[in-house]
């Protein structure tokens, strides 16, 4: 075991590992010292000058330095889920009442279980004894063929959604975002150092489904609203005041003096009597102006939206139409916010797929932000045909189910241009530009987990982590020195190398160091010396049995090895499984523990043994060296 050749190999290996570790951590060190240098300048000018003159060095160091996790540097961790039910609904070519019923029941089940949506759908179809081909793909397809097609659809949708989200984030401009998919419907997004979390959230969650849809005539809208109102009266639906508590504070009709309609179809004075309320459940929340425009107030918006989602209400609408609300409110005469209600055709004339370019600008008057869009050739010719055929009619520009504007077509538009207006700020216009350019998501996405750490807490975590690291190193290494004397030095050197290896492996593979990761290193410090303890205790035992120094050391390493191997393997197994099943921060802990345990096999056995044989060669080791 200790032939000359072997010894030289071990020495070379130790030197190589140390060199690689130092080399891999060098950028981290230089990044740290450069940043310190930068911060040491008193004026911003000096530090800028330094930054410019050392730009390449700085960039290189930063790129290769050890990354800090989101919890340490502050940032946002998001898990988004692609709405697979919506996706599969889109794929169905035949959506009758039965289908809607099945999908609603799937939706209810999916909310409670984590089984795959497709499995739930298949199970539900089995219960109903209906073949999938009645709704999906070709009637001749077998269930299995359809399942595999739908599976592929959902995989595609997930990867497309990931790409689109990446596009949006890249265009928004976030340094070092990490976007990965997990399972069949989750996208994990890590965004370090985000200051405007709300903007990012809005940027990410919109589907960006752009549609141009024809508006139905005002008479049809009014007739439809009447029909819904009558239906609600007959079915005894409670007035919204009792349904939505946000609107409970005041009668909504009071806040609905629709512009240009003192009386007419719009409700007049607030209805005090309950029976009067019941007589017009819809008109309590929706007002209609003389010229046939319908409105709802800010407070009752949620209630109206929930009403419009009901399938019995949808059944009352004229064929191929849908009631939509405006994306942005208009301001009423007394300053209240009113949302227009539109009756639009369900099938869009044109969709956002044809958009090639989008640009946020200010409108003709130079104050109102808007987004101008241009279309590809196919879209241009279609758009020309649509606008040409509908002069004098209104076309609604619908984004994610909300109407941005519904301009009257003045003339045929040949150039493939269109505009979204009704935008509040230039910032919002810019975000619209981003999502339109990145394209529409294949299905809606939802934020199902969000963790945000502010930079100040991150700084606290770093301080706490560093304190724990140094104290634990100090405590353990001093203990080893006290308990094992000279042999303790060897264990401590091995410990330093162990920590270096863990950090350098993290840096080398661009894994990031998080607070749980630091906890993993601290734990590693305690565990890494275990191997040395086992060896040293065994050596002591052999020394007690008067085996002589050289052979005691030899025997100590030999006989302790099987315990060391077993204990390391079991710790590694636990850490590996934790890494496999763990999510986010816990993986950081598992990773450092794994690297640390593996490294300790090398450092506490090979390195300490080399140190002993070196000391033996110099006659610096005696039986007393093991305490």
């Amino acid at each position: 075991m200790s032939s000359m050749k072997n010894k030289r190999f071990n020495l070379l290996l130790i030197a190589l590992v140390t060199l690689v570790a130092v080399w891999s951590l060098w950028p981290t060190w230089s990044d740290y010292s450069l940043s310190r240098q930068l911060n040491s300048y008193r004026s911003a000018q000096d530090s800028l000058k330094y930054a410019l003159s050392h730009r390449e060095e700085l960039e290189n160091a930063r790129k290769k330095s050890l990354k800090l996790g989101l919890d340490l540097r502050g940032g946002m961790h998001l898990v988004m889920e692609v709405d697979q039910i919506d996706l599969f609904e889109q794929k169905a070519w035949n959506k009758d009442a039965k289908f809607t019923e099945i999908m609603n029941s799937v939706r209810a089940k999916a909310a409670k279980s984590d089984a795959s949506v497709l499995e739930l759908i298949v199970a539900e179809f089995k219960i109903e004894n209906i073949r999938l081909s009645r709704y999906f793909y070709d009637i001749r397809n077998s269930d299995r063929e359809i399942i595999s097609k739908l599976e592929k659809e959902s995989d595609d949708a997930l990867s497309r959604a990931k790409e689109i989200i990446r596009n949006r984030i890249d265009q928004y401009g976030v340094a070092e975002p990490v976007i990965t998919t997990q399972g069949s419907r989750k996208i994990i997004i890590e965004l370090p150092g985000i200051s405007d979390q709300n903007r990012v959230r809005n940027l990410l969650k919109g589907t960006a489904k752009l549609e141009f849809r024809l508006l139905r005539d005002p008479e049809v809208l009014v007739r439809t609203l009447d029909r819904i109102n009558t239906y609600l009266v007959q079915n005894g639906t409670a007035p919204p005041a009792a349904v939505s508590d946000s609107s409970a504070s005041k009668p909504l009709s009071a806040s609905l003096p629709v512009p240009g309609s003192p009386a007419g179809a719009a409700p007049a004075a607030p209805a005090t009597a309950a029976n009067q309320n019941a007589a017009k459940p819809l008109y309590n929340v929706v007002g209609v102006s003389e010229n046939g425009n319908a409105y709802t107030s800010e407070q009752s918006k949620e209630f109206v939206l929930s009403l419009l989602k009901r399938s019995d209400i949808q059944a009352l609408l004229p064929l191929d139409t849908e009631l939509l609300l405006a994306a942005k409110p208009d301001v009423g005469p007394s300053g209240e916010k009113l949302y227009s209600v539109y009756l639009v055709k369900k099938s869009p004339e044109l969709t956002g797929g044809v958009i090639t370019e989008a640009k946020a600008t200010f409108g003709s008057e130079g104050v109102q932000p808007e987004v101008t869009m241009s279309m590809n050739s196919e879209g241009t010719s279609k758009w020309a045909r649509i606008t040409g055929a509908n002069i004098g009619k209104r076309i609604a520009i619908v984004l994610d189910g909300a109407v941005y504007s519904a301009p009257v077509v003045q003339s045929k538009i040949p150039g493939g241009n269109s505009v979204i207006n009704g935008i509040e700020s230039l910032e919002e216009a810019k975000d619209l530009e981003i999502v339109l350019k990145a394209g529409a998501l294949p299905a809606p996405v939802r934020i199902i987990e969000e963790r945000t750490v502010g930079p100040s807490l991150g700084a606290d975590y770093i301080r706490a982590g560093m304190l724990s690291l140094s104290w634990s190193f100090l405590a353990v290494s001093v203990f080893m020195l006290l308990y094992y004397k000279k042999a303790g030095i060897a264990a401590d050197i091995a410990l330093v190398l162990n920590i270096l290896i863990v950090l350098s492996v993290l840096a080398g593979f661009s894994a990031s160091l998080s607070l749980p990761g630091i906890a993993g290193i601290v734990l590693t410090i305690g565990m890494a010396v275990d191997a040395n303890v086992l060896i040293y205790e065994r050596i002591r035992e052999e020394l007690d049995a008067s085996k002589g120094l050289t052979s005691s050391i030899e025997l100590g390493y030999d006989r302790a090895f099987s315990s060391i191997l077993d204990s390391h393997v079991t710790t590694m197994v636990a850490a590996f499984l934790l890494y496999t099943y763990g999510i986010g921060p816990i993986q950081g802990f598992a990773l450092t523990l794994m690297i640390g345990t593996a490294a300790s096999l090398f450092t506490s056995i090979v390195v300490t043994k080399e140190i002993f044989s070196f000391l033996m060669g110099k006659n610096l080791l005696s039986e007393k060296s093991f305490g």
Partner: protein, 311 residues
């Protein structure tokens, strides 16, 4: 320096008392689990949490009063001990609304004590159940893997007793979490992902300690008569006592440092690992090895050990 040098404890003789102690420990934990249950963190129950830090000292009841007054429902707790409070409420996808609601309430009512929202976590119910399942899967898989590994390296009786000891350790810590949960402001003792990490660490470490004892027993028991087993077990445990204690000691030292310095986010984890290693060290001497001994005694067949090499 030498501690526990040439000891001569009759561990096997003590085993009945130890079994009794373990049973009481486990039973009280299990009763507490059944009666009081566990505090789940938002990882496993879903919900939103806002961590708020104030510039100046403020009483938790004052903060709670502000939230009550503003009509924001949820529970508020002191977090760590540094002017920070953790407010938890039901899950909402719109953390921004929650943030502005909370922020607005404090801005309006606590003007002279500025606050900062330093962390917001929101975990949806579906992901919470995902997390729970993957945690359970990880635990189960690691127990099976350890059983297999120790079974291959030693013998099935050793492996089973080792895994029983792991169960003993994890259940004891779980019981402690239930018993002590919510009693201390400086550590909430909530079940979350980090506690699962702690359990896996405990599982890995518990078997480490046990293996050290097993290894020595294996080395010495080969070719011996069953009548000598009690003596061999006792001697083996006494011989390895020093290393069992010292190895655990260094890890306990590190975990203690974590508990003190690493902040409230890690404190529950550090507490779990600390207790787990303490109990794990005890169980490898008083549970795992005695169980193997009793099993061998009752089955009356000589052991067929694998993997040991004696030079």
């Amino acid at each position: 320096m030498r501690i526990f040098h040439k000891t001569n404890f009759d561990f096997i003789g003590f085993r009945k008392i130890a079994y009794g102690f373990s049973l009481i420990l486990l039973a009280s934990g299990l009763i507490s689990l059944a009666v009081k249950g566990l505090n789940y963190g938002i990882d496993f129950r879903g919900g939103s949490e806002v961590l708020i830090r104030f510039d100046k000292n403020i009483d938790v009841s004052a903060v709670r009063a502000v939230l009550d007054e503003a009509g924001i429902s949820g529970s508020l707790k002191q977090y760590g001990l540094d002017r920070s409070f953790l407010f938890s409420t039901v899950f909402s996808g719109e953390t921004n609304e929650l943030k502005s609601l909370v922020s607005g309430a404090f801005d309006a009512r606590l003007k002279n004590n500025p606050h900062e929202i330093v962390r917001i976590d929101a975990v949806g119910p579906s992901i919470a159940s995902d997390l729970k399942w993957s945690a359970l899967k990880a635990l189960l898989a690691s127990l099976i893997a350890i059983l297999l590994y120790v079974g291959i390296r030693f013998e099935i009786k050793f492996a089973t007793a080792g895994v029983i000891a792991i169960f003993h350790d994890i259940l004891s810590v779980l019981g402690l979490f239930s018993l002590l949960g919510g009693l201390f402001d400086f550590m909430p003792l909530e079940m979350d992902q980090s506690i699962i990490a702690a359990f896996l660490t405990i599982a890995g470490y518990s078997i480490t300690d046990t293996v050290v004892v097993y290894d020595r027993i294996r080395e010495r028991i080969r070719g011996q008569k069953p009548a000598d087993y009690e003596r061999i077990f006792n001697e083996s445990m006494n011989q390895t006592l020093s290393r069992t204690i010292i190895t655990s000691g260094t890890v306990l030292l590190s975990v203690f440092v974590l508990f003190i310095f690493a902040g409230p986010a890690i404190r529950g984890f550090a507490f779990a690992v600390f207790c787990g290693i303490l109990i794990g060290t005890y169980s490898s001497i008083f549970v795992a090895a005695p169980l193997v001994f009793d099993w061998l005694r009752l089955s009356k067949t000589p052991v067929h050990l694998r993997g040991s090499k004696v030079s």
